[in-house]
Amino acid sequence: MIDREQVLHVARLARLELTDAEVERMARELSGILDHLERIVELDLDHVEPTSHVVALENVLRPDEPRPSLARERALAGAPDATDSGFRVPSPGAAAANGS
């Protein structure tokens, strides 16, 4: 019920590279899980409100008061590829050196 094409589409949305074997297995396993989930698709829930929060809270806000920021070295400390001042990434839109 979920095919190879759908698996590839979802994997692209989720930015996951899957091997061919993983695509096959994912299609099979997701179909199995979705089959099980089908049971809620059959329930009559037309007049039921959706729940996104179980806490009865509203307007939880923070005063507009500055707090100390991280020193830049600390902000960059864990970055896999940092310059002196920022986080280096391949430019969006730049072509890959060797396509995958």
Binding site: L13, E58, N59, E65, P66, P90
Partner: protein
């Protein structure tokens, strides 16, 4: 006010334009964390675990950002959602640390408003993305181009304002955006600086056969970071679509990028997949249900807005509509005008208005007069000299030139440069000489040809270098010719 003369042509199509505006709020701190806002500081010096999207961090909304958003919605006469929620808008991009933007989706804070003659579709809150800076030729990763992410801007509170497609020309779009900008500026909720990106505008543009109600396929124009670019971008896109349709082609739905250097539009590289943002309610935040106290506080904080100000200037001072609107929409002009007017009750509001909106604007362009050397009291004084006939119109312009260049008080400038009106004693001799030098004209005036007077008055003006009052000179000429 810009007046645009369009040559009447048979226009088969009319543009249908809607705007999407992002406004950076001028709070102390970011939308969901306590980092101070900054502009132009060293990269990545205003970050914390929250706005870097570290694991385990959670957003807590800034109360002041909500307050500013409430003020904006009230100013745009919108309807408040009793309960709005935040959603996650999911997509991957290096400037988006969490892989989703917290934004409002199906229940925005405000909808169905109006500003001037344009309807506002919705107003919602969200967080800004970070800034991606091209690293230049040195920044390469495995031979590919690199960029560097600066998260200082990431998480700045944004209000997004979406209009209905009620605009029908690029000029009208520019004019309306000026009104919006003036309104937001007046509210004090944003720097509204298009160069610095605190006010950003995208446009949705389509065209349709004149007289029809259908909507054509629209394109989305991005990156028009000045009024001029906005107007040029929309005009170029309208022209492009017209040409396409006239040639039998079809408009394709796409996002176009305005290039300020060429003035051209280019399609953004198409994404790997169609947009599927997978919005869902942000579980880390609870609903926003503004209380009466929050709404009252926002209402109390509203100043007089440009629309209302234009009406007041027109009604109370009798200014012409377009002059009143210009003073109100460019609130810095209105502020300057009203401050000059209150400097001395004796200043004539009409003359002052025209000296602000015509003469001063001609000299200052887009510069805020409050930031020029011209003091409002000084301009009021100049207008009083004009009204009291102490200085001629053309001499007054010369005085204003001097004020714009170096500041100073007009009376001092008049004295210093000898620009005061020639007195009666000085004029007696000049008028006598002018009649002597123009016997033919004098004869014709005696004979009843009034327009022959011009030659004599002209001679007087030439000799006094414009310092004579034209009406007074005419009176003196008639007296000497026995017509008084």
């Amino acid at each position: 006010m810009t007046t645009v003369t369009t040559t009447p042509t048979e226009r088969a199509y009319e543009p249908v334009i809607g705007l999407e505006i992002h406004v950076q709020l001028r709070t102390q701190t970011k939308m969901f964390c306590g980092c101070a806002l900054s502009f132009g500081d060293d990269p990545n010096t205003h970050t914390c675990p929250v706005c870097l999207g570290h694991p385990g961090t959670l957003p807590v909304p800034n109360a002041e950002a909500i307050h500013f958003a409430l003020m904006i919605g009230l100013a745009l006469e919108c309807e408040l959602a009793p309960r709005s929620i935040f959603h996650r808008k999911n997509y991957f991009y290096p400037d988006l640390p969490k892989g989703y933007q917290i934004s409002q989706f199906d229940i925005p804070l405000w909808r169905s408003g109006r500003l001037g003659d344009v309807r506002v579709h919705r107003v919602h809150l969200e967080e800004d993305a970070a800034k991606l800076v091209h690293a230049g030729s040195s920044g390469r990763i495995h031979g590919a181009e690199a960029s560097v992410v600066d998260f200082n801007r990431g998480g700045t509170p944004l209000v997004e304002i979406v209009t209905e497609p009620d605009l029908s020309s690029s000029e009208q779009a520019g004019e309306w955006l000026r009104l919006l900008r003036a309104t937001l500026k007046r509210l004090g909720v944003s720097d509204v600086n298009m160069d610095e990106g605190s006010l950003r505008c995208d446009a949705n543009v389509s065209i349709r056969p004149v007289g029809t109600a259908t909507l054509g396929t629209k394109t989305e124009l991005k990156n028009m970071n000045s009024f001029r670019f906005l107007e040029r971008g929309i005009a170029a896109e309208v022209a492009r679509q017209e040409e396409l349709l006239r040639g039998g082609g079809e408009v394709e739905q796409e996002t176009l990028h305005f290039d300020p250097r060429t003035g051209g539009l280019s399609a953004l590289r198409s994404k790997e997949e169609s947009h599927d943002y997978r919005y869902f309610p942000e579980p880390d935040l609870v609903p926003l249900a503004p209380t009466q106290a929050m709404i009252d506080r926002a209402r109390t904080a509203l100043p007089e807005l440009p629309g209302a100000r234009a009406q007041r200037l027109e009604r109370e001072l009798g200014l012409p509509g377009d002059v009143a609107r210009l003073l109100a929409f460019r609130s810095e002009l209105g502020d300057f005008y009203e401050s000059a007017l209150s400097a001395d009750g004796a200043t004539d509001p009409h003359t002052l208005a025209s000296w602000v909106t015509v003469e001063l604007v001609a000299r200052l362009g887009d510069v805020d007069p409050a930031e020029s050397p011209v003091a409002p009291e000084a301009l009021a004084e100049l207008v009083r000299l004009i009204s009291a006939r102490s200085v001629s119109g053309s001499a007054a312009k010369e005085v204003l030139d001097a004020m714009v260049a170096d500041g100073g008080r007009p009376e001092a400038i008049v004295v210093e440069r000898g620009l005061g009106l020639a007195g009666a004693g000085e004029l007696d001799a000049v008028v006598d000489r002018a009649i002597e030098a123009n016997p033919d004209a004098a004869e014709k005036v005696r004979a009843g040809t009034a327009k022959a007077m011009g030659a004599i008055v002209g001679a007087v003006m030439r000799e006094t270098k414009g310092r004579a009052d034209g009406g007074e000179v005419q009176r003196m000429v008639r007296e000497r010719l026995g017509l008084g």
